[in-house]
Amino acid sequence: MPHDTPVFRRAFLIASCGAMAGTALVPARAWALSTAQASGLVDQVTAEITRIINSGQSEATMLRDFERMLSRYADMPTIAQSVLGPPARAASASQLRAFADAFKGYMARKYGRRFREFIGGTVHVTGAQDTGRFVEVVGVVDMPTTAPFEVRFRVWDRSGQALFIDLLIEGVSLVITERSEMGSLLERNGGSIDATTAALGSLG
């Protein structure tokens, strides 16, 4: 029986599961994220960030606005598990939710404060490519005084909605950088995700 190989059986199993879930799967395929959609999302979000940093509101209000933007545009479950790395596998769903929530606040404070340095800057999208796993939108930030620099936004729609999973400035990935930082924080807290989550509350 040439067909009765493990690979073939697995393929058959996937195909029949797909057929059973048929109606649910078809719209998901049609929803696949296009580079144009991802670029549109970047335009929308950078316009919103520009509006917030030029609004002249207090820092506390600005940071609250940034946190709200993260809730709306960032794929927090993906980001949280990616920055935790392998320890995320041993964590429970509620531990991960609590960590993701604390990490969101930490990110809004830590990076929101830095956004003030971009007052007067403009972002323009120069291109986008589909890497297979996510869409990467490439942009250039033009600043009034310093040399222009490159930003890359990574977007995917695994959650059913186009959301950001990473931001890279001149090659420096937020997720990779924070994965190193969270690794150090986990180590300092004896490997406990709960203690790390609690510690995040006073950081950033």
Partner: protein
């Protein structure tokens, strides 16, 4: 360090780190932090507060202009003739119209600065980065880029060309330029060095990611690693 057959070395992905001398590197990092707290940071803040912006910019431009002969030499060794001509043109424009390099009219004329160094030349020749290294005073580097730094210092055409007396002025402006950079990035560096959970690990990660980005641009070959964790850091929770 591994020498490839030809063409640039492959670039490891962002979160891949080889740090064989971590214990020594961490000790040097503690020394650098102490140096920054005691001397470099306060001096830079003094320099930034006392010396007005335009003068600091002039010093920065002057020091940057003097680096161009070294850039051009490396561009030629990299067989990047276009970049060599652009840096030569910048050097000529800024040395003349820019009043011996105090001003940078070349950037306004559409000739932006593209820095390079002998570490990049070695990369173009196929030399891999080797291990992560923390250098006293200079900060983060790699085995290959440390060799590059030494070669650049020894072979800088400006140093070779000027008399020993002027050489100390060159060194002084370069040091002032670095103090200026330290001042400009004060908030960023303070956040990184004194507020992160592990400043050594943060600096190492930022340096390697940015260095590989600068070497690679968009065209460099990425190392083909079998480990999914390194190839793509994103966990799919769905």
């Amino acid at each position: 360090m591994v020498l490839g057959a030809c063409g640039p070395a492959t670039l490891p992905p962002g979160d891949q780190i080889t740090d064989a001398g971590e214990a020594t590197n961490r000790a040097i990092h503690r020394f650098n932090l102490a140096l920054d707290q005691a001397v470099v940071g306060p001096t830079a803040r003094g320099y930034g507060t006392i010396v007005p912006d335009p003068v600091r910019a002039g010093v920065g431009n002057f020091a940057a202009n003097l680096s161009h002969p070294s850039y051009i030499m490396n561009n030629l060794l990299q067989v990047r003739v276009g970049q060599a001509s652009q840096n030569l043109l910048r050097f000529l424009v800024n040395s003349t119209v820019g009043l011996a390099g105090l001003f940078d009219p070349a950037t306004a004329l559409g000739l932006p600065e593209t820095r390079t160094d002998f570490g990049e030349t070695l990369h173009v020749w196929g030399v891999g980065e080797g291990d992560f290294v923390m250098l006293p005073g200079f900060g983060p580097s790699t085995t290959r880029d440390t060799v590059g730094l030494i070669v650049d210092m020894a072979s800088n055409p400006v140093r070779v060309a000027v008399a020993p007396a002027e050489r100390s002025y060159v060194t002084a402006t370069q040091l002032l330029d670095r103090l200026g950079d330290r001042y400009e990035m004060d908030d960023t560096l303070d956040g990184l060095l004194y507020e992160s959970a592990d400043s050594y690990a943060q600096l190492r990660s930022l340096y390697l990611q940015n260095r590989r980005f600068n070497l690679g641009g968009a065209t460099a070959p990425q190392a083909d690693v079998g480990d999914e964790l390194y190839a793509d850091p994103y966990v799919d929770p769905y």
